[in-house]
């Protein structure tokens, strides 16, 4: 079974530029998550989708971050414009369902450096 795919793996941009990350979840997984992992910290949930609807985006900085999950499969996370503090690893995860003891499966992440 293929895992969660993410691209690109690395990205370096200058502040005020735009960037987009792509995620392809495990086939059949209805729930998709985007996490931000700043160096030295644990992952923090940015947004959660159930199929193509947003379940939780309470910690997404909506003035600069946006995300979509068209057709309930792939997802794109965008930052526009980027700030220095956005430097982090962006992790995508998926699960067949949500809540309780359901396991989330993580992708390898995209490491973003904002100069």
């Amino acid at each position: 079974e293929a895992g969660v795919a993410q691209s690109p793996r690395y990205k370096i941009i200058e502040k005020r530029q735009s960037v987009a990350f792509w995620c392809n979840p495990i086939s059949g997984h209805a729930t998709l998550y985007w996490y931000q992992q700043i160096l030295g910290q644990g992952p923090k949930l940015l947004i959660q989708f159930q199929n193509n609807g947003v379940v939780d985006d309470s910690q997404l900085p909506k003035d600069r971050f946006s995300a979509e999950r068209l057709k309930g499969v792939d997802s794109t996370l965008k930052i526009q414009p980027a700030k220095l503090e956005d430097s982090a690893v962006y992790l995508c995860a998926s699960s067949p369902d949500w809540g309780g003891r359901v396991e989330q499966f993580f992708g390898p992440g995209t490491r973003l450096t904002v100069l």
Binding site: Y33, Q41, G42, K44, L45, D56, W98, F106, P108
Partner: protein, 114 residues
């Protein structure tokens, strides 16, 4: 707000020995789940073990086991017969039963030496 605390930024263990990673959490909920995730240097995080709060019996998965102390809100991970492949960041995480958001601790970096 729910918080997860891992007080050991780094730990080291010799191969074949046993090590325990600590985790405490703070919640007023009665229905919740606890997880330990492993993040190797390649950064793909994988689930190591999980525990339902309503279960008194500690979860075990081969060489990995937990010591779940509900009253103390403690959830430590014990790795027995440590192997070189166990070297990674280990994150403790918490989830309320009715939600799916995971709240992570800051992680413990485990080194395994020969």
């Amino acid at each position: 707000a729910q918080t997860v605390t891992q007080s050991q930024p780094e730990m080291s263990v010799q191969e074949a020995e046993t090590v325990t990673l600590s985790c405490t959490y703070d919640t007023s909920e009665s229905d919740y789940y606890l997880f330990w995730y492993k993040q190797p240097p390649s950064r793909q995080m994988i689930l190591v073990i999980r525990q339902e709060a309503y279960k008194q019996q500690n979860a075990t998965e081969n060489r990995f086991s937990v010591n779940f102390q509900k009253a103390a809100k403690s959830f430590s991970l014990k790795i027995s017969d440590s192997q070189l492949g166990d070297a990674a960041m280990y994150f403790c995480a918490y989830r309320i039963g009715t939600a799916s958001k995971l709240t992570f601790g800051t992680g413990t970096r485990l080194q395994v030496t020969l």
